[in-house]
């Protein structure tokens, strides 16, 4: 939704080194995400998927490297420049992270109240339309505690879309959901990507979701401390000769690979 040309990558990660307390978790990670793409970061538990995502949205400061959002470096940006970058992205956290003391409508309206000078009626209408997009228009007045986990995640997507950002970051959207709700969420992501041309960067390790939604994936591995594969997930599943990639896509147990 940004005026930049389609050929330009909308997210560019360059030489990112990330970790905690001096321990390096990700070493020299570089990749790009194209505009309008549904891009999935996958990998086993503890490989640094969520850590990478949190560096990409500027929550954590990397040990080294840069993350460019629409050409602007979120690592070095401060003040108004940083706020301007943050209006271009929306984030859905693993738990939904809806504000428990607000209704769904108020949750979605909050970014509009803080960033725009629209009147109350206009903000309400935009919030209702976002909730309608995720199929929750009948639950505007509900508190987050009154709806299911899947609905909370959909409401969190609506909140992330409140300001019409060009890029949505989703952390484990299908985790803990039943197959039907998970498939519904996958369909929603594909529909939003197709109709609103939003770029999605999604962290997940749910194989069914990966095949259903992704245009391109990168696979992280904790042993490599970085990217071990990149491309179309079905092609990787069928053709990759990397044992760790095969192990992941074929859902093989740890010992099986070691024995092999």
């Amino acid at each position: 939704m940004s005026p930049a040309p389609a050929s330009q990558p909308v997210v560019r990660v360059e030489g990112l080194v990330a970790g905690y307390d001096g321990n390096v978790l990700l070493q020299n990670v570089s990749f790009t995400v194209d505009r309008g793409e549904v891009f999935v970061i996958l990998g086993g538990s503890g490989c640094g998927k969520s850590t990478l995502l949190k560096h990409m949205i500027g929550l954590y400061e990397p040990m080294a490297g840069h993350v460019f959002i629409d050409g602007d470096d979120i690592v070095t940006a401060e003040g108004d420049a940083r706020r301007a970058i943050l209006t271009k992205i929306g984030v859905m956290y693993q738990s939904g992270a809806l504000f428990g003391s607000m209704t769904l409508l108020e949750n979605v309206r909050l970014p509009l109240e803080e960033y725009t000078s629209l009147d109350q009626g206009a903000m309400d209408l935009i919030a209702r339309m976002k909730l309608k997009l995720v199929g929750l228009d009948a639950f505007c007045g509900h508190m987050p505690s009154e709806i299911s986990g899947g609905m909370q995640k959909r409401a969190a997507i609506a909140r992330a879309m409140a300001l019409d950002p060009g890029i949505l970051f989703l952390d484990e959207p299908s985790a803990g959901l039943d197959p039907i709700t998970s498939a519904t969420l996958d369909a929603l992501i594909r529909r939003l990507a197709a109709s609103l041309h939003i770029t999605f960067v999604i962290v997940t390790h749910e194989l069914a979701s990966i095949y259903a939604i992704s245009d391109r994936v990168i696979m992280l591995d904790k042993r490599a401390k970085g990217i071990i594969a990149e491309g179309d997930p079905k092609v990787l599943r069928d053709t990759s000769d990397h044992p760790w990639v095969r192990q992941f896509f074929r859902r093989e147990a740890e010992a099986a690979t070691e024995a092999a």
Binding site: D80, G100, T116, M129, C140, S145, L163, D164
Partner: protein, 383 residues
Amino acid sequence: MNAATEQATRPAAAIALADAGDRSRVLALSGRLDAYSIATVWREARAAVMAAPNQPIVVDATAVDYCDGGGVAMLVDLLRQPRAAAAPVTIRGLKSEFKTLLDQFDPQAFAAPAAPPPPQTRTVEDIGRITAQLFRDMRTQVAFVGETSSALWYAFTHPGRVRWKDVWYECEQVGANALPIVTLISFLLGIILAFQAAVPMRQFGAEIFVADLVGLAIIRELGGLMTAILLAGRSGAAFAAEIGTMKVNEELNALTTMGLDPVRFLVVTRILAAILMVPLLSLYANLVGVFAGGITMLSFNIPLVTYFKEVDSIVDLKDLLAGMVKTPVFAILIAGIGCLRGLQTQTGASGVGISATRAVVSGIVLLVAVDGIFAVIYYILDI
């Protein structure tokens, strides 16, 4: 382009109003229609539509360069306005990629308010609801007192079953970690008490009796009470928040399904720690407070030896015990109320905050009330 400058140089949304030859009103929109730039245009467009209820309205979007969810919402808002059949609102010239967005919404679906207004309640209904809530709360408290007493008795009769490691950890939290704040408050209390008393008493040459006042007030009353109030704010709130968060995270359910009683596991250890630590902290607060009074009296030319001799002559073991007997009761109140409020926590982050607040408020109120009861009992027993 830099993000900040990009935002500053966005082409502004604009609106121009004109009357067409066919008696229709034309609203010509142009520029970039997004949530950041359409506030004024939206207000003007809505006012123009409402000002011409009997005139057909044509929204000309030919010159719109960009339109996202915010712009589409504005168009939906104009389309949903109630109009006469002969004066509809129509949109023309909207680029196909933006029209696809608009076509996802039925404007009439947004004609009604988002949620019906909350039902109005009557005063009698409110009184009934509050009373019922009060009785439910009392029932919970009685049940909690029963469960806790039973668990404490079990701990007393089966000391080997108590989780002493947890008790010592809580002792550190409630006792050792509270020493700095107890020291500071008791010291200041002693100094303020002595100074406020010494100034008027000096007029009668009776400064030495400040030692009597400070000694009796702190040892019989204030040392224990102030320590308890401090711990109600510090540890009572911590207990409520900790157990409340555990409840929100379903850790209490996990304990229950493992066959472990949350009261024995969480409440007993905290109450035992408080019973062990509050008397010790109160005794320490007494010493610091009385000593601080002596420091103040140095500035009134009363040496420390004279001051402590006077304290010794007026305060006897009965006074010390009268002050100390209350402290285990205070301890049970602080820890019990903190744990009870934690167990009563409702869902969400605000639930934990409410529990911590209720723990402190009801803890302090109960402490003062129980202290008053002790004062009456001591008066009747002539202690």
